[in-house]
Symmetry: C2
Subunit: 426 residues, 2 copies
């Protein structure tokens, strides 16, 4: 089917995905693992044809004057290919989440009631630039027993098509339907509009990309969306704290990388720790060129730090995700104020308390309303791989269904299973 | 605040609910159980004022010419009051789902990662007629640590207001914010439109009522909706089966009550069992006046049953939820056909296989894409109380988040918890 008539083309993909989803849901663990192993092998053997397809995208991007970091994201270097191939093998080695029956309890009526983990069905994935996401999404779909419809960025279309061919070969080799992973072959934007509005074929949409793209998709989708818009992550340094440890963790959370959504954007410091802690972290930030946007109390202390780049924080700063060498800094009077501030200005992504006080640690974990809450660890750990999920299809800051890094389990749901011996309701 | 300016009034409820939700999320188990015990006591002691409020609704309903069964649904009889009071005490006796940390694993980096169960926040409940739902929803909110905004039917407004006063007193007695449970005090329909479209205050909507109401709410809601539209439940009688047991279970699934969503609406019988099973179940259905809408093979067998009310099934019959003494009947050639038929025409609510063949039972459990799948048990068991959830806020036929009967756990979500000793990301 040619993708000229977009609604008909998308319906065609939807029907094929729904049929493939049924086959995937009942596929055995070994068959799914065989497909993943085959995909790893095919990626490693891909060589020239894949490189040529990727070169086309790179040339087009350079001709179009894309910035160098954007062009770099497109590159399927031998290292990138090795990493995604390894990812497929890691998924193959993981336990199969599907089919597991848990929590079976005998009821007074005689029936036994439990829950079975099953695939969601069909997910749609919408992403930009990096072509390796094609393999990540495909491999998670295969292992979780779902079908998927992938819509990559137009700038990576040749790379994505070449990678998709490998996925289809791997599925066929293992005896699975190649339609389990479909790629939208047109770069027409109308295809996205249709993909997010066909609940009869697609159970959930996972967008990855800029905030604008994700906000638009969330507003217009007719199916659930697994997403996050912002990562305004906080580090709160409590009154009782190991200052040396707090310096290392705060530095890592802010400066190890500026662009990820789990990097810290806001630093809250208890008034009792501020005189000891702020000048030292201020010196570290000053040395790395990190601008500090401060409330008056923090500024008064940090003013003494040589070379510190200080500014007055505005109301907007407390809610800002900088993704840059900028941090907002505030002195708070206690845990209550810290928690209230985070719940008000945060983005429910990831927040950490640095403390030696156990009750405070437990209150922070319970009362901060974020997808990931941490004690004495860097916010940069909020990641599917770091959490042991094997891989990550996305991160959710919503509370419904999956929260935080979403791996295989987030692509499944639990249905009720009742085992009887002829019981009836009285 | 008077409910004349609906948007302002609903915003006011929303702000109060959000603040109460924070308090409820950190409330201790004993305090929440105290509120539930107080509510049970206040319900039992309510006496004349509650009876008078209920009498007002009954009189208005009778004056308006409501049908007798509809009027009966409004009645807060001593038995209804005793049942809801008992329900509160049963919830108090259940384990607190909130705060539990599970699945903690040490990662190679040194951090420990697990998940903590926390309340969703604020739910909105929209329901018709039965005022006891006010207490069911309030008590589930209290135990699960959520706040809720309740919108009952206009025909039960006086009963609901009286019950809500008891809820607020119980909350206050236990030291919890009375705003944790709010009732929309106006019967203006614009309030519903606003309630389902304020994601800043309401995390999820749970509608209970007619299919039309639920479809409209689902289409217009700007937040997730926990709902089911249809219960087109199937019983499939396999080739290898205990016929005597299958008769008892099939009869119970269809005729124990016709109106619940978990009653069977469609009977599939393997061709090998049909000659022995169909005449006997046909005789039972004939004796109870159940009309059978058949495919040609079933009709040929059932034609011999004296007094059987038979009709030819149309395509529409396979998808129909009758909620009446009518059943569709089809002879199938095997398990594959049965599963395909259920997944095509069913409503993903509850379906049962009656079989002595273990591999077939397991395939049915895995491959039928419904919220509840059963082996050798009546579909009528698909119910929160029967499943041991303590109570049920609703039933979901969607796959996202909670599936099937939704109890306390369905009103919670899992956040990630990371416990470290100063670990940083390398």
């Amino acid at each position: 089917m040619t993708p000229h008539d977009i609604p008909a083309y998308m319906d065609h993909l939807g029907v094929a995905a729904r049929a493939a989803a049924t086959a995937m849901a009942s596929a055995g663990t070994r068959v799914k693992n065989d497909a993943l192993s085959a995909l790893a092998r095919l990626l490693r053997e891909a060589g020239e044809p894949l490189a040529a397809a990727n070169a086309k995208d790179i040339a087009a991007a350079e001709a179009a004057g894309l910035a160098a970091p954007m062009v770099d994201r497109l590159r399927l270097t031998p290292k990138v290919i090795a990493t995604v191939a390894e990812g497929c093998e890691q998924l193959a080695a993981m336990p199969d989440p599907v089919g597991e029956i848990t929590g079976v309890k005998r009821r007074p009526t005689g029936i036994s009631v439990g829950q079975m983990r099953v695939p969601l069905g069909v997910f749609g994935m919408i992403y930009e630039s990096r072509p390796n996401v094609t393999i990540e999404a495909a491999s998670l779909a295969i292992k979780s027993g779902n079908a998927c419809i992938l819509r990559g960025g137009s700038e990576a279309i040749h790379s994505n098509l070449a990678l998709w061919q490998l996925v289809q070969r791997a599925l066929s080799e293992a005896g699975l339907p190649p339609e389990a992973v479909q790629l939208v072959e047109t770069t027409d934007r109308a295809a996205v509009g249709r993909l997010i509005a066909m609940p009869e074929y697609v159970d959930v949409i996972i967008p990855r990309g800029g905030k604008g793209l994700i906000a638009r998709i969330s507003a217009e989708a007719k199916v659930p969306v697994i997403k996050h818009l912002d990562g305004n992550c906080h580090v709160y340094v409590d009154a009782e704290v190991d200052i040396a440890q707090a310096l290392v963790v705060t530095d890592n959370a802010k400066t190890q990388k500026y662009s990820p959504c789990n990097a810290a954007e806001s630093l809250l410091v208890h008034a009792a720790s501020a005189p000891a802690f702020l000048p030292q972290i201020g010196a570290i930030f000053a040395a790395k060129g990190v601008e500090m946007r401060c409330d008056s109390a923090a500024k008064a202390i940090l003013a003494a730090v040589p070379g510190a780049r200080l500014a007055d924080a505005t109301e907007a700063d407390w809610a800002e995700e900088y993704l840059a060498p900028i941090v907002s800094v505030k002195v708070v009077q206690g845990l209550d104020e810290a928690i209230a501030h985070i719940n008000r200005y945060g983005s429910h992504h990831t927040d950490a308390i640095l403390t030696t006080n156990h009750p405070n640690a437990m209150r922070f974990l319970r009362e901060v309303d974020s997808a990931s809450v941490m004690v004495n660890a860097s916010t940069r750990f909020a990641d599917g791989f770091e959490y042991g999920l094997g891989a990550e299809i996305g991160i959710s800051t919503d509370k419904f269904h999956a929260r935080g890094p979403v791996g295989l389990e987030g692509l499944t749901s639990m249905k009720w299973v009742v085992l009887g011996q002829g019981e009836i309701r009285g």
